[in-house]
């Protein structure tokens, strides 16, 4: 399941809901991305997440489907927040669940790597030094590239 929302989420509650009454799941991995007060040496007071409504949901659904195609996942969830955030706030949640841990670990990493580079979200940072749009990082692109070959092949 995928959700794009302004409001915060409770990772523990989301995990409980996802695996409730499931006795086939032996491993779940939860990843939470948080907002930092400093980025590239600059202080950040507010970070605003913008998205392309419609396309963002479509892109996340496609990325999730790709993960479920590559790994034997029994459940998965992506929540991506939009709107203004403060340092320490949660930004994104990825949960993957499978019979065994390797698939859950790998799929969670894959989902994060791909959603950073393949879903239409943009970050704007505001701080004492002014306002700027965050530039895409080569390291994120490289991280996404390593999944190009399917682990099944």
């Amino acid at each position: 399941m995928i959700l794009v929302q302004q409001s915060d989420f409770d990772p523990g509650h989301e995990l409980d809901k996802l695996v409730k009454d499931r006795t086939d799941i032996g491993a779940s991995v939860s990843f939470v991305g948080h907002m930092r007060a400093r980025n590239n040496g600059r202080a950040v007071e507010t970070m605003t997440l913008e998205h392309y409504p419609g396309m963002a949901e479509k892109a996340l659904a496609r990325i999730e489907a790709e993960a479920r195609d590559r790994w034997p996942l029994d459940a998965s969830l992506i929540i991506h927040r939009v709107g203004p955030l403060k340092p320490g706030d949660r930004i994104v949640l990825v949960i993957t669940a499978s019979a065994h841990r390797q698939a859950a670990f790998e799929a969670a990493e894959f989902l994060m790597d791909w959603l950073k580079t393949k879903a239409p979200f943009w970050k704007k940072e505001e701080g004492p030094d002014g306002t700027n749009w965050v530039a895409a990082k080569d390291t994120d692109e490289n991280a996404a590239q390593r999944w190009t070959a399917s682990p099944k092949s």
């Binding site: 991305g33 392309y52 396309m55 994060m112 950073k116 879903a119 943009w122 704007k124 895409a136």
Partner: protein, 84 residues
């Protein structure tokens, strides 16, 4: 056809969207349309200055700038994604 601008495209062009005449897009690629837009004024010229960071989606599907616009209803311009 509707054109949407996201992130710093919107800031530089000064509006989130605009509608352009479908006839202006006939037999044109996205790159052709960019050339037309750039002639409209400084704000467009600045937004499309560095073509290497210009990304586009036709009806919510990312496509290369060489793609013909065809009968698309919505064209979006945006910089590389930075979510997550």
């Amino acid at each position: 056809m509707k054109i949407l601008y996201f992130a710093w495209f919107r800031d530089r062009i000064g509006k989130p969207e605009e509608t352009i005449n479908a006839a202006d897009c006939e037999n044109k690629t996205i790159a052709d349309l960019i050339r037309l837009l750039v002639e409209r004024g400084e704000e467009y010229a600045t937004a499309f200055e560095d073509i290497s960071v210009v990304h586009a989606a036709l009806d919510m599907e990312e496509v290369p700038l060489t793609t013909p616009i065809g009968k698309a209803r919505e064209l979006a311009f945006y910089p590389p994604f930075t979510g997550g």
